[in-house]
């Protein structure tokens, strides 16, 4: 069984970090995993995406044209990558910034207003963690509690941010269950 997740948005949205946190959780769960960044002449505000491949067997090609899941953090990402998602997969939509639909009826579409949720939590910077939690809880790509441990590990050097990010995880999880 192999799962591929593409995280896409613009530079500064925490796209790379989302992928890394999930990849770490997958490794802790005993899976084979590859994290691939888009690296081009990138800048803040430019496009940013990364792909995480999770498998129970050694991973061959790290290059994925048709991922099973997509986490779209802005509109151009959704427009560009939604058509490539495998049928039966998941498309996560950051509905705070994306007003259009995925245009697919053969995938599970999850829309969460992550920026509003993050603002309610008191820090808009946690929006990516809200999104990650919502996506993981819905798609079950990795164990949610391992994801929690992975977030803690990522913020180990900024310990005072851990409680806030735990709240963001819980809020994201809740939103994924409340939203159709």
């Amino acid at each position: 069984m192999q799962n591929e997740v593409q995280f896409a948005g613009f530079g500064g949205q925490g796209i790379m970090l989302m992928g890394q946190i999930m990849a770490e959780a997958a490794m802790q769960q005993g899976y084979e995993v590859v994290w691939i960044p888009s690296y081009g002449p990138e800048m803040r505000g430019g496009t940013a995406y990364c792909t995480v491949v999770i498998s129970d067997r050694p991973i061959g090609s790290p290059i994925i044209r048709y991922p099973r899941h997509l986490v779209a953090m802005n509109r151009p990402s959704l427009e560009k990558f939604a058509p490539a998602v495998k049928p039966g997969g998941t498309i996560f939509i950051n509905s705070s910034m994306i007003s259009i639909d995925a245009g697919r009826d053969d995938v599970d579409v999850l829309k969460v207003p992550i920026i509003e949720i993050a603002k309610e939590l008191g820090n808009v910077k946690t929006a990516n963690i809200v999104a990650l939690a919502a996506f993981v809880n819905r798609s079950q790509v990795v164990d949610f509690e391992l994801l929690r441990e992975s977030v803690k590990a990522k913020f180990a050097r900024k310990e005072k941010l851990i409680p806030l990010n735990m709240k963001a995880l819980d809020a994201g999880k809740e939103a994924s269950m409340a939203t159709a």
């Binding site: 590859v34 994290w35 691939i36 960044p37 690296y39 061959g60 090609s61 290059i63 044209r65």
Partner: protein, 356 residues
Amino acid sequence: MGKVLMKGNEAIGEAAIRAGCLNYFAYPITPQSEVAEYLSRRLPEAGGVFLQGESEVAVSYMIFGAAACGERVFTTSSSPGISLMSEGISYITAGQCPAVFVNIMRGGPGLGGILPSQADYMQSVKGGGHGDYKLLVMAPASVQEAVEMMMSAFALAEKYRNPVMILGDGLIGQMMEPVEFPDALKAKPSNKDDWATNGMATRSRNQRNLVKTLYLDPEELNAHNLMLRAKYEQMEKEEVRYEAYNVDEDYKLLIVSYGTMSRVCRTAIDNLKDQGIEIGMIRPQTLFPFPKTAIYDAAGKKSCRAALCVEMCMGQMVEDVERSVSGQRPVHWYGKCGGEVPTPEEVIEEVRKLVK
């Protein structure tokens, strides 16, 4: 220490420290700058020295200087930077000093692009600088393999007193994978007293070790080159490494591919197997010495009709594959050269054209 999730570039830096190398001189260039970033923080912690050179040319001679003193030393760069270092590499080879060069390749020629490429094959295996010399070239296909190759590279460089090159495409440096580091190596270079400039073997005779590259006497230079050649012949006997994939089946086509590209081919081979088509693959792990015999034998298999070289460049490895296949079968090429890594689907399409 269990598995850790690490970027290839960072893992390469860590592997060097664990191999007992505490000297790293470099000049930043995408897509390998994270090695310098990581080591600028980590090397001082480990008691080592990180120095950023004013250019890649300078770096190559800093490497020469440290290596001539019998110190374990390495550098990393990417394609245009390696071109600049090639002069120094030629000198280090002539001076018979051990050192490790890592090339995380990007597209060329010229400044090219910054995306993954394998277009420095010729430069690496045929000698990028002047003169009769060779590098021992290893090509990892995963972050774990990059770590293992790094850790063995210093011992090989010391065994032959010759630079070793780790040749990875941009993705090997940029991707993150779980890695497990082998135990740190404790052994120091064993033979350096015989040749290093601060070696003590000959001092008692009131004579110092000399590292030099100038031989004005033609007979002496000829003898020097023959001696270098003997080392390369020994590498061809002792250091060939490759991985064979799906070669027990009656395959119609033999793929030869290395690095990230070989992983894409592996997925293509698995998918083709599900469709009832068997394809074999030889993945060279050393590009020099090249696994000639393995490719000759694999291409000669009765069921095999042709060989296909899959590379992220204009087919630079094709002539080595042709040389290895020795006319038994036709040799084809497929690849891309702009920084885009061909997908398994594209490899499958190409294979289908050849086996129909």
